[in-house]
Subunit: 111 residues, 2 copies
């Protein structure tokens, strides 16, 4: 047996979690929301709506968009977005460690 | 902002969580799976299937059933079921405390 869980940041609904984190990481890598969405197997419009919803709930912009140009435009994660990603990474690691420890305390094989 | 989460015990799928815990608590109270299910707003057949699935995944019985008799039968939680409930209660409290603490560390207003 093991512990199963989902964790997210909530502000008037789901405001950030593993999925958004992975999407932003890919935007950083490809500098493109389209390529990030493609790589995660979701449509551009779904990714776009997700970002809109998260930005509304968080109260700040996650992406800056550059439309057109020779490269066909692109997206970058804002500095507040990057700060959120960094905090979320650390939060997520602590959650994983913490939950395993709590699980072991109550259900682990050692007791 | 706050932390949102779901947590459960996993063994070949969801094997125990808040819903099953609440259902068993009501079985203890009413000594009846039917009344427990009614009070949670789920059908008897759904509650019954849930218990079957959990017992299969956990590998032990949660309920002992008494069919018929003057009282029309009834259900009781087994001692292994009660032990699981007790551990789960403590586990659940530690999870709540732990996650709030981890959230505060990374996103709390104090930093």
């Amino acid at each position: 047996m093991k512990v199963g869980y989902k964790v997210w940041l909530d502000h008037h609904g789901k405001a950030f979690g593993d999925g958004p984190y992975e999407l932003l990481r890919r935007v950083e890598k490809f500098m493109s929301l389209l390529r990030a969405a493609n790589q995660m197997g979701i449509s551009y419009s779904k990714a776009w709506r997700l970002i809109q919803t998260l930005e509304e709930r968080l109260g700040f912009a996650l992406l800056v968009r550059k439309v057109g140009g020779s490269s066909g435009g692109g997206s970058r994660v804002t500095s507040r977005g990057k700060d959120l990603m960094t905090r979320y990474e650390r939060f997520r690691r602590d959650v994983e460690k913490g939950l395993l420890k709590i699980y072991d305390k109550h259900f682990g094989p050692r007791k």
